[in-house]
Assembly symmetry: C3
Homo-oligomer: 355 residues x 3
């Protein structure tokens, strides 16, 4: 038996009934509702204001019902309603960000996964502590400018959406950086980016064993970022800067990728270390998470960030990916979440995957 | 009931019989024939000279029969044959371009969609009038060089294939442009490109309602362009220009992409405006169309062009896309066209989708 | 009847029994085992040291059994075991490279395809002789620096992994190249890269006919390369060089692409020429091969390399591609290999596809 994350009282609202897959209507909600439907679970879409009309265009991904609140911060006021609906909340990046990690953590409704992870992921310093103590290779962090011995990226604390980044090809170029707040200087790792969609099941007793459960790889993407991706078409960055045009790194979409098969062992190894350390630190992560890093020309994989929930890149693989199709045809991350809920329910182990 | 586009005499050739899906063998013809076959419709491939041999390599996409003409301009001479075959012509970019929009519009054979759109799409000024009067956000157009206040792209009128484009990072750089014909200066919008494959069904009475029908999103791609895509590998564009190497923008292929889910509402909104205005201007568009634009770092979507027919990027999604799989598993645009023809036939509404 | 590649004694080990699909656990082995399983063939994974654990994570792609050797060069010592297992070896890039083409060619176990191709592919000069004599368009090769009249790429003989490449935008820039060994200077062709996955079946008597068999197109990808792909994000290459940062071309993964349909005839034509000439030179290629080239702004396709085995880019298409889905739904290259073995077995023609 695994670790119990949820108390009896937390799970009282879904006891003896079919849980309702519930999430905020944004980010990866189409996929989450699509997966719930495919696995026979009811679904509920939370909206701020009236539901977006585009759900009408996707009959296989429209939630069974909607529940609207005037503002995101009114979500805590509908907790009783969510409990009466038998809701299990599926966290995603926008859901947690819009509501705030603290407010999200306090919702008295069953949440898929371990809500203790929120405190570790939302704080960059704690996240780094977690990953470094797990032995995950990360880009060097410089304490001051004198240490810089190669290209760097400078990030402001709490910067959102990639607008506050500054790139410098060496210490010399870093002189053009004039900080307007607290920041960190990291090595800028050259290579190709891979966003790896993993899933950790504490229920599974076969497959790639980690802790009491199993690790799965469900897909891989690369993020589209505006304006950096296509900036080069206009000219050299040095010349563009003179014209007042700066690179930005705002995520707008995703493209599908795969990794060389010979690099999979270290990808699995990194993901396993993250899980193992999460069990030691806070009882473990459950369900989808994403390892985001750069493969260098020396085939070293440097992790620059992790996401401890379903990521938007999984939306590419509504009907399966080159990885998940090796597990079961047509398996999306959204569907995998619904499968895990169903299994836990049938095995009486919901406390191990909900919190 | 919707708008009748086709007269009784135009449809006489297919009355009471199963229509034959007919298109020129190029562009997206494999997908169109594949979709016809999947929906049980016969197909006919029009070829200039003998059929290309590669159709033999794709048994599920080979048309049932071929009809060859010596030159494209001989197509009007086989109109009687096409009527006797019960043909419905499926327009695509190459079909209309090779034959010429005027000659295409005059063919006395049923055409899928509203042939009145041809006059609006083939004239850049009318297209812009249509989109601007629909309230679609587009890149600024400058009347003269003095107005230029940022990066621009200069396009010659009627330039084909993206060879005649000139990019300038500011007004200063524009001085290197020495026109050889009439041109337009547009703001060069920095961001990431999305080519969104929509489908408008005037027959549907459910889903995302627009006009008398419904709007669907079937997929998304990004175009490969030679040589601009990989030009940066050789060096800074400013240095390459000195070596006599200029950027070009010739489409060679496509890659699949998805957009952030939170940006879908404005994508649907833009597409709906285009449809609504088309109904006012010329009786409406029917079937596939593509909205082509750039998502900026501020998450504004600027439309630089639309295609009013099936686009080649849909060829990525022969067996469904991350969007169409939320409507019906394995749905391609080619198959969706065949479904629409079948539905119209069974409901006696062919006049609403053919012209 | 086609060309017999294998002697009776070579095939004695699989006579009258179901062959075991066998390959080295790397590169595209997940796909190969997945395809074998889908077509009902047993599979055996060869490993150096204990099997990688990640196979446990992919139940549909794990081989039925593993056979481990301490070092790659010990593989010849298990030949008797492989024969007793009824193995058919499936070559892939890593399998041949790790073992060495000579050692691979000498293994007395049935190999899928014609092992005579190894001598032609592993020697750049012979490969070029083959392709040029087939009339395949390739980038110009310069005999000396004075001939250079445009951008060039300089490759050292036998350079692996793309680290030893040097790019120069013209003859002037080539002066910065200081050779440390024998090298070749090639025209650097500007455009977009396509890696086309073909399959040649000597057994098929329908489809796109070449020689005694048929040519199929199963997919297309583009390789990810570190660090060149994302190098531009840090600045102009000329400036990066001053900071000691050089471009490298190490393959790390793949992305899916498609080509304009109107360019398929020349893609098939090039692939057919390569097959036809291989029949004349060494009895023909069998099964998967990849044509790797650049489409220019003038829509000319220049081939810079071919791979005469399954390539890693096919791993994108475990459940079918936009091309293979036009042949049979869900067809991967790995599955196509298994189908060919099954067909040859049932028709008593294994000698035509094994060697």
């Amino acid at each position: 038996m695994g670790i119990s994350l949820a108390s009896k009282s937390r799970l009282a609202s879904i006891e003896g009934r079919v849980p309702t897959v519930t999430t905020l209507c944004s980010h990866s909600s189409l996929q989450i509702f699509h997966g719930a439907r495919a696995e026979g679970l009811p679904s509920l879409g939370l909206t701020v204001g009236p539901p977006q009309r585009f759900y009408e265009a996707f009959p296989l991904a429209r939630p069974d019902r909607f529940l609207s609140v005037p503002r995101v911060k009114d979500l805590p006021t509908v907790v009783d309603r969510l409990r009466s609906e038998g809701s299990v909340l599926i966290p995603h990046g926008s859901f947690v960000e819009y509501l705030g990690p603290e407010a999200f953590a306090e919702l008295d409704v069953p949440v898929f996964g371990n809500r203790a992870v929120l405190g570790w992921e939302s704080d960059r310093r704690k996240e780094r502590e977690w990953l470094e103590s797990a032995g995950v290779p990360m880009p060097t962090r410089y304490e001051n400018e004198e240490e810089v011995d190669g290209p760097v990226i400078v990030k402001y604390y709490g910067a959102k959406g990639g607008k506050g980044f500054f790139l410098a090809k060496n210490r010399e170029a870093l002189k053009d950086f004039h900080p307007t707040g607290p920041y960190v200087i990291q090595r800028y790792v050259l290579g190709t980016r891979y966003y790896m969609h993993f899933f950790y099941s504490p229920l599974s007793d076969r497959g790639y064993r980690v802790g009491h459960g199993s690790l799965e790889l469900l897909g891989m993407d690369r993020r589209d970022e505006a304006n950096i991706d296509e900036l080069y078409k206009l000219g050299a960055q040095e010349e563009l800067l003179k014209a007042g045009i700066r690179p930005t790194f705002v995520v707008t979409g995703n493209v599908p990728v795969i990794l060389r098969e010979s690099l999979l062992p270290r990808a699995f190894d990194v993901a396993a270390r993250i899980i193992e350390r999460s069990i030691e630190l806070f009882g473990g992560m459950v369900g989808p998470f994403c390892v985001e890093g750069i493969m260098t020309e020396d085939l070293e994989f440097k992790v620059f960030e992790i996401s401890t929930r379903i990521v938007a890149g999984t939306n590419l693989f509504i009907s399966g990916s080159p990885y998940s199709d090796l597990i079961a045809p047509g398996l999306s991350t959204g569907r995998r979440i619904a499968q895990e809920i169903n299994r836990a329910r049938h095995e009486g182990r919901l406390a191990e995957i909900l919190s």
